[in-house]
Symmetry: C2
Subunit: 413 residues, 2 copies
């Protein structure tokens, strides 16, 4: 007999204060979706908003909608909706471009602010695109700069007076480990370094406190826990007192003081808006805008509590049902040091994930050997976790992953 | 009696080989749309494609659609659809980011290729965001570079051995003047300079011959003559033999050789794909993709012929009906030196344009005094031009623009 049975999970769902949000999402039949940290699902409110945008605002309104439908303000309005989720104030966040492009902007600006310091300090296992972008910034600015990578545990000790900026992803994309934002920010400031947080794997998964931590700069993703749709615009944050010191390297017209004066010389807008570059992608911005409305109703402390409970449940279930089946927990058991995902290593991780997906349990695989499950409290039930682990255990016990079609790598994994 | 009457225009429409394309567009009742060079109208095929993308591919398919719906290939597939419109080959174009961001990428890369040369040469009246981006690139790379601006007529004479790259917009956004792409490209190459063309105001308005001209680099806009929707993704072109020499400054994971290997070091993809940066905005990309399908049926020589005829007609009608009403033609009468727009200066240009819009004639205003009419052959009729000029003449004759509400400036003009 199981220690944790399905009925127990049903009881947890009945008492879940966030349970009512699930029905706001379109979740396909027969799917347990544990990949909301890669691509959030569709909120039922979004198709109507997109339909109105396309047929009314674009189709009927045409160019007039830049004013009449307030397209021009979307980057700021969307940013203002994100601000409370990250502990920022209105006017400190703007939605724009992709996470990678926004990282380029803020990292370049940070190095310009920190003339005389040469090091970008980051974590060896940071999300690769962050490292790639940092390598691009370093090469662009010439040989004066160095990208120094250390293990997560060694970040604080590596901060010294040569460090211009500490660039970290708050929650690690592989193992779900979470940095202490307040402690690292303080350690950086003690040495005169700036901190740039990538919040892609934490925004919408837990309360965040950029303001309280006095964090300098941040970026984040719109299509994971924020459910903004595939390739949704990203966002960036600059603490208010730093904003007018930023010189944007991507100095496009949307960040100009007077974009429609069409003067020859660039002059940055005041405040956060100078970090805009080109014309905003209105369709994608509107989908994100609509998806963000749900957050006005969400208690972020309750969200975090459920996230922790879902992860604890998954770990306990795998302890119980997955014993001896080749899984190694890759995520810490200490909730304080964890984001909102649980990962397990398995030598055949890729094929195991394909077998899971074939059974309707969608997580994802991260090279070389991790299967990763995102735990998204707005629409996941405790019984979903129970059922997912039961299917995982069956796949492993019966070696159902051992099929040629599960081992054949697709382009996107 | 008028020299050119409405019946003559109706005859022209009856004989127009492109007339059948008009019904593919959703054009609101009571509107004559002369602003397709700012925001193209909605093709009737687009809403269904967006609806399917949102509800089926995102809603039902979720993360699986990156492979199953081929989202991952969209930047290249869209690029391959644009290629024949600009005289490029498949594999030389990719859709991504905004025009400004793409300009930053290619201009930075060009300067890196041209080490030892210090000058970015451009036109004083280039589209401002292009100049702003060039100023950003110059500042980012340090004081080694200079942005040199000259009048359009002086470009060729200003190309010398110090010029790294000649950066020009093919058709001027204000007066519609068109550069000779072949001649300027040749003049640049004669001095060892690269050429970077901004095709925003020419792609989809006329045939283009980047390949025949041996042009090096180009960028362009998706939401003007290509009708991709507000803030649609832009595109970039790199001539094939230059592609593997480009070192992208915005080195994000989508341009990595193996984006899903999640290795620590950046290694650029082969060919054009290295110029991608972050995750593509799938909604916006799909709208552009759907909008591009019409071009497979369009004869670009016939498109250009109609564009010239529409502009000639507008100029003749204003000659006849606008005499003594304060308009000054700002566009050349020589079709060879013209794009696909006609602009007139008027001291009260802003108010005149507001009065036109109030009467359903949508063009736009460009500071300080221009009213601008985009002539888009796929959906404009000769009678539209006739009616627009008649309304313009009436507004000027009766000073209908002289109202406080027409003079009050909106945020976007």
């Amino acid at each position: 007999m199981l220690m944790i049975d399905r009925k127990h999970c049903e009881d947890l769902d009945r008492r879940d204060p966030l349970a009512r949000f699930r029905e706001r999402f379109l979740l396909p039949e027969g799917v347990i979706y544990l990949d909301g940290n890669s691509l959030g699902p569709l909120l039922k409110s979004v198709p109507a908003r997109i339909g109105q945008l396309v047929e009314r605002e674009w189709g009927e309104g045409l160019i007039r909608s830049w004013n009449a439908a307030r397209w021009i303000d979307l980057p700021q309005r969307v940013g203002d909706k994100i601000a409370p989720l990250i502990g920022a104030e209105a006017g400190e966040v703007v939605a724009a471009d992709s996470t990678s492009v926004n990282l380029f902007k803020l990292l370049s600006a940070a190095l310009t602010l920190q003339r005389g310091r040469s090091i970008i300090l980051s974590e060896r296992d940071n999300f690769p695109t962050d490292l790639y972008v940092a390598q691009g910034v370093r090469d662009q600015l010439g040989c004066r700069h160095e990208l120094k990578l250390v293990d997560a545990a060694d970040i604080r000790d590596a901060i010294d007076e040569q460090v211009a900026v500490v660039m970290l992803t708050h929650v690690n994309f592989r193992n779900g480990a979470r940095h202490d934002m307040t402690a690292i920010t303080r350690a950086a400031h003690d040495k005169g370094a700036l901190v740039l947080w990538d919040l892609s794997h934490s925004v919408g998964a837990m309360p965040l406190s950029l303001g309280a931590a006095r964090a300098d700069l941040a970026i984040g993703c719109g299509y994971k826990y924020l459910n903004g749709g595939p390739g949704a615009p990203a966002f960036l944050y600059v603490r208010r007192d730093l904003q007018d010191r930023i010189r944007p390297p991507l100095s496009g017209w949307m960040g100009h003081r007077e974009p429609f004066a069409f003067v020859t010389d660039y002059a940055p807008a005041e405040g956060i808006l100078r970090n805009l570059c080109g014309t905003p992608p209105v369709l994608a911005m509107a989908a994100l805008d609509a998806a963000l409305d749900i957050w006005a109703e969400v208690d972020l402390a309750a969200l975090r509590a459920k996230s922790v409970a879902l992860a604890d449940l998954m770990i306990s279930l795998v302890d119980e049902q997955g014993r001896g089946l080749g899984l190694t927990l890759a995520t810490t058991r200490d909730a304080e040091q964890r984001g909102s995902q649980v990962s397990f290593a398995h030598p055949e991780g890729y094929a195991v994930m394909q077998a899971l997906i074939a059974r309707g349990v969608i997580g994802d695989y991260r090279a070389p050997d991790l299967i990763r499950f995102g735990l998204t409290p707005l629409y996941l039930r405790y019984v979903d976790v129970f059922d997912a682990v039961a299917i995982l255990a069956e796949i492993l016990r019966d070696r159902l992953w051992d099929r040629a079609d599960f081992k054949r790598r697709a382009k996107v994994t």
